[in-house]
């Protein structure tokens, strides 16, 4: 069978396909959710807790107090053992991802107070 001469060559097709190629990148909030959902002794992650985490981060993603809501998301995902002390003054501006993760996993947390501050 002969090839249709109007069709692209393999090389031309590869070049075209490459125009829609972008390097993979993991958004910071998703990365935190995946890490927060990982096995922790005594805490079983559930779909519900992850949904709550995602909602917290979606709220954060609109630009206002994202760090606090991200921490809240982590807290909900991580279960009762996780927590965050709350308070905007304590929130870091540099390398927030790891810092928030550490904070969320190490301190007590009052989610209602955090939301109240977020809405203020």
């Amino acid at each position: 069978m002969t090839e249709d001469t109007r069709m692209l060559s393999d090389e031309a097709l590869d070049a075209l396909l490459d125009t829609d190629k972008t390097p993979p990148r993991l958004p910071a909030t998703l990365r935190m959710r995946l890490i927060a959902a990982a096995p922790q002794p005594g805490v079983a992650p559930t779909g519900d807790s992850l949904t709550l985490a995602r909602n917290g981060m979606a709220r954060a993603g609109r630009g206002r107090n994202w760090a606090r809501a991200a921490a809240l998301g982590l807290t909900l995902a991580g279960g009762a053992a996780a927590g965050f002390a709350g308070g905007a003054a304590a929130l870091p501006t540099a390398t927030p991802e790891q810092t928030l993760l550490d904070m969320a996993l190490s301190a007590p947390f009052d989610p209602l107070a955090a939301f109240a501050e977020d809405d203020a």
């Binding site: 829609d20 998703l30 990982a38 096995p39 992650p45 995602r54």
Partner: protein
């Protein structure tokens, strides 16, 4: 099994064992090592950022759940994640047949490269539409082999087909793309455009 593949398999399995025991560094290594590529696959299959993130989250959640029972040698973690994510994408695509496409946004830009970038974006959108129009399995084969840059054996394992069947899917997919993209490719310029 090739030494490189065995080594990669063992490295992932070791990380997963450590993650199952609560080792956060292992968790981070697994997320950073596999998350971006799995998300890239889900993005390309679904064309919906939120849905793609949900798929990645679900795939990792399943990985974390089975981590304590993971047996070294059964599969590469990355292969397993790709397979789970792909099946989750299929589920979503079947539930929602309409494909969302991201049309390039035209922006006024007077930088010297603006026109070239616009042409590139338009070409990318055309390619994206052609790939999206492929039958599901052919599309998955193209995504795994071209965009995820996986080898034939691993892509076949993810699709749960033989390497020969994968090659057939690829050949049919590429043929369809070559035809589709040739049909609406711009006519070649006939003027020489040269200055004496």
């Amino acid at each position: 099994m090739a030494p490189d593949r065995q080594q990669a398999l063992d490295a992932d399995a070791q990380l997963l064992r450590a993650a199952a025991g609560g080792d956060r560094e292992a968790v981070v290594a697994l997320v950073d090592g596999n998350g971006p590529r799995v998300l890239a696959l889900a993005r390309r299959m679904l064309r919906d950022e939120q849905a793609a993130e949900d798929v990645v989250q679900e795939a990792f959640l399943r990985l974390w759940r089975i981590a304590p029972e993971w047996r070294a040698g059964q599969a590469r973690v990355s292969t397993w994640l790709h397979r789970v994510a792909l099946n989750l994408c299929y589920d979503r695509l079947r539930k929602k047949r309409e494909i969302l496409t991201d049309e390039p946004v035209e922006q006024i830009d007077d930088t010297p490269d603006a026109e070239a970038e616009l042409v590139r974006a338009q070409t990318a959108a055309r390619v994206r539409a052609a790939v999206d129009a492929l039958p599901e399995r052919q599309r998955a084969a193209i995504e795994l082999c071209h965009y995820q840059e996986l080898g034939g054996a691993e892509a076949a394992e993810i699709l749960e087909v033989s390497v020969e069947a994968l090659e057939s899917l690829l050949a049919r997919g590429r043929r369809a793309l070559r035809a589709a993209l040739a049909e609406d490719r711009p006519a070649p310029r006939t003027d020489s455009g040269g200055m004496p």
